[in-house]
């Protein structure tokens, strides 16, 4: 069925290929915080769960269960106890799926597709961001949102590290919230990048956040005014004159380094403190729309499939194939390194 080049092209890094991938593009990947259970949401309207077994460099994947939405699913989040998965998408709903009972129910509704979401354990609330320009907070036991927060524009990405939440919207707005007072915007800034915001990741220590754009650039931004001198941006995911977008930013749960994944089909590991790239992986032949680390950072999962970066005309449903790969994140790749200088002084 697949005639799109040999498998080596889509997997030049020889990552493990997860079995029974979705039949259409993957929009989000997330690992359970408690176990190596992987969730993938897809443009084929399904939310799938695999169990991943790892022994050293060897992986094994077992499809476990799946639920369906009525429309493409765009985002997912795990509850902190690892039993429940939230998913939302173009059907403007979010569903809560209890994996133990395999029951799912609707817990959220918006007026437009839900683009991103997060579960906030400290508040026991689900926050959903939508193209209807609102953030809504949901107590899953009630049908109405606990709070609706207006955004200046459509929500494109959000990231939570309690009590910090950063929301990126269309037209380069970045809104920062202190979740202790969530009805107030803590700060609203314009993105340090010049083009459309694509993804956001809050620092694990809540001192700032990363923002990725379509222009092959990532901005590192600190919240404290006194730390503004530490802000910088860097270029990535570019090949010659071609500038691809950064689709995903993910912090390593232990080392504080982070991974970027782009439309060029590459994923890289970076250390923002020493401002180095730790590892550059080989480009796959298709874009990488999303990636994620597992809870201990030993696995980086990424999807290789068409992300619409070249519009509808480059989407061929008959031949398009979707892959989900697991990469063993070696310490040499994801552990931060001090920056070496030559002996001679300037």
């Amino acid at each position: 069925m697949s005639t799109f080049g040999s498998p080596a092209n889509t997997n030049p890094n020889k990552s493990y290929e997860v079995v029974q991938p979705p039949s259409d593009g993957v929009s989000s990947l997330s690992f359970s915080p408690k176990a190596n259970h992987l969730i993938a949401t897809s443009w084929d309207n399904q939310v799938r769960c695999w169990e991943i077994m790892q022994s050293g460099a060897n992986f094994n994947s077992t499809p476990k269960a799946a639920i369906a939405h009525d429309n493409p699913v765009l985002c997912s989040a795990w509850k902190d106890d690892g039993t429940t998965v939230f998913s939302g998408g173009c059907d403007k709903q979010a569903k809560m799926w209890n994996l133990l009972s395999n029951q799912s129910m609707q817990v959220a509704a918006h007026d437009a597709p839900i683009k991103d979401m997060a579960w906030i354990p400290e508040m026991s609330l689900l926050v959903t961001g939508s193209w209807d320009k609102t953030l809504r907070y949901w107590d899953t036991r009630q049908p109405n949102p606990v709070h609706v927060q207006q955004l200046p524009e459509r929500c494109y990405a959000l990231s939570v590290r309690y009590p910090l939440m950063v929301v990126g919207t269309a037209d380069r707005n970045l809104i920062i919230f202190n979740l202790q007072t969530p009805q107030n915007e803590f700060k609203r800034i314009v993105s340090p990048l010049k083009f459309q915001t694509r993804c956001i990741a809050a620092f694990p220590d809540q001192q700032g956040f990363l923002v990725g754009s379509i222009e092959g650039r990532v901005g590192v931004h600190h919240l404290d005014d006194g730390q503004q001198n530490k802000n910088f941006t860097f270029k990535c995911h570019r090949e010659g004159n071609e500038i691809y977008s950064v689709n995903s930013l993910n912090f390593h749960p232990v080392h504080g380094t982070f991974a970027t994944a782009g439309s060029d089909g590459a994923f890289n590991f970076w250390d923002k403190d020493s401002k180095q790239r730790l590892k550059a992986m080989t480009r796959c032949s298709q874009p990488i729309p999303c990636g994620t680390f597992n809870s201990d950072g030993s696995i980086y999962a990424y999807a290789v499939c068409y992300d619409w970066s070249k519009g509808a005309e480059n989407h061929n449903p008959a031949t398009a194939k979707t892959y989900i790969y697991l990469h063993q994140a070696l310490e040499s790749e994801v552990k931060g390194k001090p920056r070496l200088v030559t002996q001679t002084r300037k």
Partner: protein, 442 residues
Amino acid sequence: MCKFLVSFPVISLRSLLYALSLSLSLSLSVFFFIQMSLSDFGTFPIFSCRYGDKCKFLHSTQQQQQQQPRANPFGFGSQTGTPFQQTNTQQQKSNPFGFGTQAGAPFQQTKIQQQKSNLFGFGVQNSSPSTGASNFGGQQTKIFKPFENKWTRSSSAAGASSTPSQQEAKQSQAADHKCTDPEACMRIIAKDFEQEKPLWKLTCYSHSKDLPCDITGDVSYEELRAVAYDEAKRGVNLQSIVERERSLLNSKLNEFQSLLHNPYSRRSDPAPFPGAPSPVTSTSTPPLAVQHRNPPSVSSFGQLGPSLNIGFNTRPAAPPNNAFPFQNPAQPVQTPVAISPSASNFFSQTGGSPFGNSLSFNNQSSMLSSSFPASTQFTNFEVTQPSMLLNGPSHMGDGQKPALKPSEGVQRVFSGDAAIWAKEKWNPGEIPEEAPPDEFIR
């Protein structure tokens, strides 16, 4: 010494004290020297950097990591935490929302001061190697002035940037970009279009970071794809989908071209929003829905209407529940006018004063609910006069009113009585001087 002994009887007390202090200081300095040398030798048996273990760079012979007990220049106190503690669990984290002194600033100043450039545009100490201007990757650090406010348009950009009282300390010229010189702006834009052109074209754009968008109307991959999938579901064939996307792309490219040639004239060209056949994702997807109802060139007035409607449609139907910690679960629908969503009024209602300056801006008037970034999507029909700085969001409030000030170079000023355009015959003296709004152009 001999001299002393010989002339001992005639030495005054003063000179004796002098001599004593001299010898004392000599011995002390010798003492210190010995100390330092010893410590140097202790850590650098072979290679001796003259800064010893206080050097901010990591030497490959240096076994220990950079422990910098010296205070950083910005008064954050000495760094005693381990430098590469990425997760920073052990250090006192400064509360990101209650900034004060940094007891344990998590990231070593020393690392940042390294100014080596690398491929990725690192190396500048602070942000903004990102503009098309010259300082790509490797420009040396400018002098750091911690809280110097280089943001000269804080009043107009208040909503977008941080509070003017505590502006981000920007060092490079890009951050200081003031749109006073159209030539400079044009150069930046031209350079960006040449060198920084991303593959995805349906995007907003600003020629300078931290400035609001020159071109608004973002369409993300997922939005375009969602619309395409929805159309396909309804039976639209691939060819029409592709054509729709292409025309969207072309209109966006035209926008960029016109920006390139005229950076200060904010065309009220409404092309920005993605052209979705409106029923698709239901009217509740405002930008998608707006586009196709509008003819390609629409007056500012024309765009205002549908936008308003859509804005209303997106209000959630369900009232939020009142639950801790949300103290004021006010309905989001606040003002009738709100072109931008009623965020501003919502904030003022809650009474809490969020830290963003955007809110003080908004509180000026309930009518002008123009929280800054929200209005960027509508800056299309805000006329900026050439005397105004670029982006003209300082006219935010004015932008909400239909009658905009006429200015040269702007095509779609809607001033005065529109009926004049409908007249068949003009009498001398009543012929309008500006070009007609596009709705009158056949």
